[in-house]
């Protein structure tokens, strides 16, 4: 009885799936879906490597500091970094006094309550504060940015498909729309063509429009590519500040496990030796 009902249920599901397949296939052949411009013109992220890549990856602190400088002088005008605190900058090589100074001199102050009047006010940041947001709220952010809210950058290299190479490609990928781009996909007013962005046009104007937008104190030439690479490296750190600790711990754990597993394997072989020997002898 179970098998009889089972066969009926199976015939129904499988049969209807095959009918659906036939109808779908007919539709697919008679009316094949046209390739969308988003699909045709979209490009995969550029091939770029960072010192933090791979199981042995480490941060280049000099690069992170350069990247921080790019964030501070270019990105911070619109993009928040709400999960990172000034004190975290000590992890990329700034000392305590430098961090205090960076926090105190940050262009935007930290919102607070006036201790005397209880009114909303703001004060210079302290190392313990998170980076203050450039806009008071999302409405203000959208109003100032052609209705597109600049995303928070704390996790951006983990929050986008393609990760850090995608961020780098987006920063360096602005270009004039190709001549054969369909009318519907031409960048509208306030939009900018960038084939690394999923729907090809984004509201962010090219943030690194020209070389020398920042001047590096370590003498590195601030080309567009260099600035993009540095700020991307900095954003890898903001998204994954424990990366180095993770890699180091990983090697220690795996070394321990390898030794333990080899010992466990050898004791397994010893324990089974008599059973295996019996098998060999009899064959």
């Amino acid at each position: 009885m179970v098998r009889f009902i089972g066969i009926l249920v199976g015939l129904f599901f499988s049969g209807w799936l095959l009918v659906s397949f036939a109808m779908g296939a007919k539709e697919y052949i008679s009316n094949p879906p046209a390739e969308t411009a988003e699909h045709a013109f979209h490009q995969e992220p550029k091939d770029i490597s960072f010192t933090s890549d791979g199981p042995l990856g480490k941060f280049d602190r000099q690069q992170l500091q350069r990247g921080f400088q790019v964030y501070k002088e270019v990105c911070a005008a619109c993009h928040s970094l709400r999960l990172v605190a000034f004190r975290n900058l000590e992890e990329i090589g700034y000392n305590e006094d430098e961090v205090k100074a960076i926090a105190a001199n940050w262009a935007i102050q930290t919102p607070d309550v006036d201790p005397d009047t209880g009114e909303m006010s703001s004060r210079p940041s302290l190392p313990a504060d998170k980076f203050p947001k450039p806009f008071a709220n999302n409405v203000a952010a959208a109003a100032a940015n052609n209705n597109a809210i600049p995303p928070d950058l704390s996790l951006i290299t983990k929050a986008r498909e393609g990760g850090a190479p995608y961020v780098y490609s987006l920063l360096t990928g602005y270009q004039n729309p190709p001549a054969n781009l369909p009318e519907a996909n031409q960048p509208g007013p306030g939009l900018h063509y960038n084939p690394y962005f999923a729907n090809l046009n984004l509201a962010m104007a090219p943030p690194l429009a020209a070389a020398d937008m920042v001047s590096y104190s370590d003498g590195t030439n601030p080309s567009i590519e260099q600035m993009a690479e540095d700020v991307t490296a900095f954003l890898i750190w903001t998204a994954e500040p424990k990366l180095e600790e993770r890699h180091q711990t990983g090697w220690a754990v795996i070394a321990f496990l390898l030794i333990a597993t080899i010992l466990a394997y050898l004791s397994y072989r010893t324990i089974w030796a008599d059973v295996k020997a019996e098998k060999k002898k009899k064959v």
Partner: protein
Amino acid sequence: MSFPWAKEYTPTTDFGQWMDKQLPLPRFIYNSVGAGYPAPRNLNYMWNFGSLAGLFLVVQIVTGIILAMHYAANANIAFDSVEHIMRDVNSGWMIRYAHANGASFFFIAIYLHIGRGLFYGSYKAPREMLWLLGVVIYLLAMATAFMGYVLPWGQMSFWGAKVITGLFEAIPLVGKPIQELLLGGFAPDNAALNRFFSLHYLLPFVIAGVVIMHIWALHIPGSNNPTGVDVKGPQDTVPFHPYYTAKDGWTIGLALIFFTALMFFLPNALGHADNYIPANPLSTPAHIVPEWYFWPWYAILRAFTFDFLFIPAKLLGVLAMFSAILVWFFLPWLDKSPVRSGNFRPKFKIFFGILVIDVLILGYCGGAPAEEPFVMISQLAAAYYFAHFLIILPLLSRMEKPEPLPNSITESVTGKPLNTAS
């Protein structure tokens, strides 16, 4: 319950004898995973995934309890509390990555364990109850994993919760009230997050309880084995300890190497980038996909694209998705072939191979966007899936001529007839 030749526990110390009289816990351990439990001598490495699934259940419970000490189940701060764990809690990143990837390893172990059972006929008499309890564990694990994925309250958490609870909406009449009951509202929000957290904490202990029954049910007939032939005498078995404790022991080390390599070097490889964006009810992700271990079922859900008479396609998809797993409950009675092991069933072996590839294809399509040709491929693959369990297996058990079975486990191991081998 065990074989008559199982070794008897004999406490040697005064304390051991005193303990044995008052609370025979050492005896219990001895008889369940010690020298007092004889297991077939020919178990291959496919028999190691039960203990590995147990290992990862423990990893999940331990890391989960620690995470719950720092996590805040409130829609306003859940996302940030996870980032607090990643950034400010000592070694919090390690605990969280272990928990996130531990779920994947739990499912890898459980899928290989299920596949082993399917190939070697471990669901057949006298182990039906063992198999049924296993399916219950799998269903509970799916519910637990789904609710756990909602807790970080990222974009995929939110939209995953919305899509999966939305499935219940397809049920006629009672669907909408069920969905609202599950969510505690009309859409996922604080009420849903809180109850998911509560249940996510509860269900692993329910799983642990069913696991105990699963192991209990295992110990009555004892393990199946690659020949599928019953244990006939002491020469067919070895004591669980030290033989299988040693064998399980070293593969636990091996599994932990793979696990730690993933969690320390590629911790986000199996996750979705969108879940690092805080949940936003106003912005739908381009592709809503569940975690990889749900992909085959998700492909079956989406394979139904046409209404059948008065049954809407969505309801058909939901029914098919649940049926795809519920069919396992009937498997012992669908496959009546008296031969357990696929090794001695020449045709079954081929169909089983097709099923494995079929489920992998379903998995690939389930993770792909809901576009052609993936929908058409999943329709064919889902059709085979149902045909395999509901049509092919019942008919095959009548039509197939199995190969001759070895007379005993020992004979199959040593290649000598039973009377000379012992």
